[in-house]
Symmetry: C2
Subunit: 453 residues, 2 copies
């Protein structure tokens, strides 16, 4: 066989040979087991060096387009290619999100973005982003950060623990998922009804059986059936905002003890409490025996950081660690070191104190605006702590209609119905205020009233 | 009942009252339904203002220690507390990792940490760490980063795709887990044997059934049984390092097409190829019909960043997106924006070119050192690309013994046996060289030879 190759000069010669032979194979001009010219012969034909031909043939060999037989030469490899030629459907274009005109977003996941200590943070990044810190963190998280978190949950929430009980994740969902897998595919998980829909979604994703446990005025009620894990938000129930009473806390811990179940206490915004002292955590009462404690920096620092943590009872640490032996860290090492340093220097506590004042003012502005612009048929609930409240709507106004009316005047408020696993007759909306200024809060509420009243 | 409270002056008076009453309740000095003094009466007894007493009682009410009856007064709430008093076992101390004397760590997860463009990266962080960028990213990742990755995989690996097909995760394990859940609890997943143990660990964690698919000289073999998803590393098999032949690629794609299965192509270190042209990706041949493409920045930039991505066939995008509707992002927004900008400015390609030269030199140094210090009974395999090679040990030296001997002289090398799901008689060690200098590579290999030969 002769190969005639017209060099274009656009690539090195060996690449042009390689590409041409490949082209001929893929277009069935060269067939399986056909012999190629020897290196020497092709070099003479093309008046190039044998070395150049060798480079081209080596590449074809490596990719398996050709094979060689000792003392015989080079041959085209056999493989089916017909079906490779099928053309793919043109990819559908991504949906274009129509630019909307939202001016006031009462999103409960937003935080105040003026107050963040940018300069300090940036300096800490510069300090820690250096060559000794480029290997991956241990999967449980950086030791320094785990220690600072252990100290923090003790002083702020009375949860006495050691660094070895603290595990760092990239969000509440990912630590919840890790825990579910640890409890195994047969675990039954209880969720508050209504509750945090993103936690419910994780359970649906991993196919675990779940049970909706109703919430009453005192918090989540005592599960009547056999569940292994109960997810609850005692300090500020999501979304309704009530604080679990002491009586209920005691009863719940008693239930966990009797039924050998574990309670996940998600303390997602317990740092922000505006009336009275902080509510003691369930984990403190229980001394971390049946309670797994969840915390996050999404409310206290930045949601965009994606850093959360859980504190396990000591009885679970060894088996959890063994279960995740081959796990890799899911959080940037530099971010972990920066955060640990920020906490160790006392800057986190200082930031929290500052934010508490800011959010207290914002919440006051929100409640004042609501009392000024709305009649008593709109009832505010869940206002004792956290970064959102709930408004109960009067009978004449459905949840969907209220949200739609708000959108029409450039305001995002959020549904409660999606927090329910089952249907609900209650019409309520969630109003977050962390990301808006005092002025925006007042103007937004006034505008809401103009369409809802 | 009379309450006598001795103020210590260490806290505000209302807190001292609150604490004392709580203490009395928890120690059963005050019993369920017992009536507390009226606010007025207690104020008179203690000669303090009624307002102070009210603050204390309000806190006790909020926490549920007491309840109030209209026109009757305040009463101790009923709850069981006996079992709350149980003392927790003292937490076991975390295991102290004994300081070892490792001087040369041939870890295949390490990268060169001198060459990273620190200054450029800081500047980009400073540019993007600002108040407009503090909300959470879309769960799929930042649009700008998805677009840059789509462009990159097209120009570097021939994978034609749109930004909407790209999904950002915090590591290969997390994206693999997300995919497994998407395929459902009944999916059967094929893994290379030997293969990446951390992927096998994910399957064990989520309880999916797996099948070990043997690897031969041409890459992973064609699965004989019904599996839904096959995880493979065609460009540089992990750990053995062979490149999948064109014939096998075609056969594998044919199999996927016939059996309606999907292939996960993990291109974890395909960027680093030292001989010949880059090997075309399976995703390119397939035009992303049955192939799900995995990439990572752990080798090309930094393992500590925790940023990886997957590219889905267009046919899966809508259902995958619907499945993860309630998912939140798991990667820092600022890191995503910085990386996108780094790529858009052409700095990533520049960095890759630089790293290719550095790693080529390191690999050359490694191979030279091995050929100088070791006899032919030690065989090197998998050296055509990537950041690690494998050494086949002679019969007289077991894998465990080789690793132990190395440790004794301050060298970490890594086992191959753990990459096998079933037992193997092969004795091999994995030698990574990305994180060591040329000098360290040479000295480390010389020292290894001194104990292995």
């Amino acid at each position: 066989m002769e190969l005639s190759i017209l060099f274009t000069g656009k690539s090195p010669k060996y690449i042009e040979i390689y590409q041409e032979v490949k082209h001929l194979i893929l277009h069935k001009k060269l067939l399986a087991h056909e012999q190629l010219p020897s290196k020497r012969a092709l070099a003479q034909t093309l008046t190039i060096s044998v070395h150049t031909v060798k480079e081209a043939y080596d590449q074809l060999l490596t990719e398996g387009y050709i094979y060689s037989k000792e003392r015989a030469g080079y041959f085209i490899a056999p493989f089916e290619i017909d079906w490779l030629q099928q053309k793919q459907q043109p990819a559908s274009m991504p949906e274009v999100v129509t630019a909307n005109n939202i001016q006031f977003d009462f999103n409960n996941g937003h935080v105040d973005n003026e107050a963040f200590p940018y300069t300090t943070w940036y300096k800490l990044i510069k300090k820690h982003f250096m060559k000794d810190h480029l290997t991956i963190s241990p999967w449980q998280g950086e030791d320094t950060l785990r220690l600072e978190i252990a100290r923090y949950v003790e002083r702020s929430r009375g949860v006495t623990c050691e660094a070895s009980q603290v595990f760092i994740y990239s969000g509440t969902q990912s630590q919840f998922l890790a825990l579910c897998h640890f409890f195994g595919p047969k675990a039954c998980v209880g969720l508050e009804e209504p509750g945090f829909k993103r936690i419910r979604a994780v359970l649906q994703q991993c196919g675990l059986s779940t049970m909706a446990i109703p919430v009453d005025h005192a918090g989540v009620t005592i599960p009547q059936k056999n569940i292994h894990l109960l997810y609850t938000t005692p300090a500020h129930q999501f979304p309704l905002g009530m604080i679990m009473t002491m009586e209920r806390r005691a009863a719940l811990l008693h239930w966990a003890s009797l039924s050998q179940a574990y309670i996940i206490e998600d303390d997602y915004d317990a740092e922000f409490r505006y009336k009275g002292l902080p509510i003691p955590s369930l984990a403190k009462l229980d001394q971390l025996q049946h309670v797994i404690y969840f915390g996050t920096f999404s409310k206290t620092l930045l949601p965009s950081l994606r850093i959360s943590y859980m504190v396990l009872p000591t009885s679970l640490v060894a088996s959890f660690t063994a279960f995740y032996l081959e796990q890799k860290s899911v959080v940037s090492k530099v971010d972990q070191l920066v955060l640990a340093d920020f906490m160790a220097q006392g800057l986190f506590d200082k930031h929290l104190a500052k934010m508490r004042t800011i959010y207290r003012k914002k919440q006051q502005a929100l409640l004042t605006a609501i009392s000024v612009h709305f009649s008593a048929e709109f009832q505010v609930i869940g206002e004792k702590s956290g970064l959102h409240i709930v408004i109960k709507l009067p009978n004449r106004l459905s949840e969907a209609r209220a949200i739609q009316l708000a959108e029409e005047v450039g305001i995002h408020v959020y549904p409660c119905a999606t927090s329910y696993q089952h249907k609900t007759s209650e019409a309520m909306v969630i109003i977050g205020y962390g990301g808006l200024t005092l002025q925006q809060i007042n103007d937004g509420i006034a505008r809401l009233a103009s369409v809802w009243q």
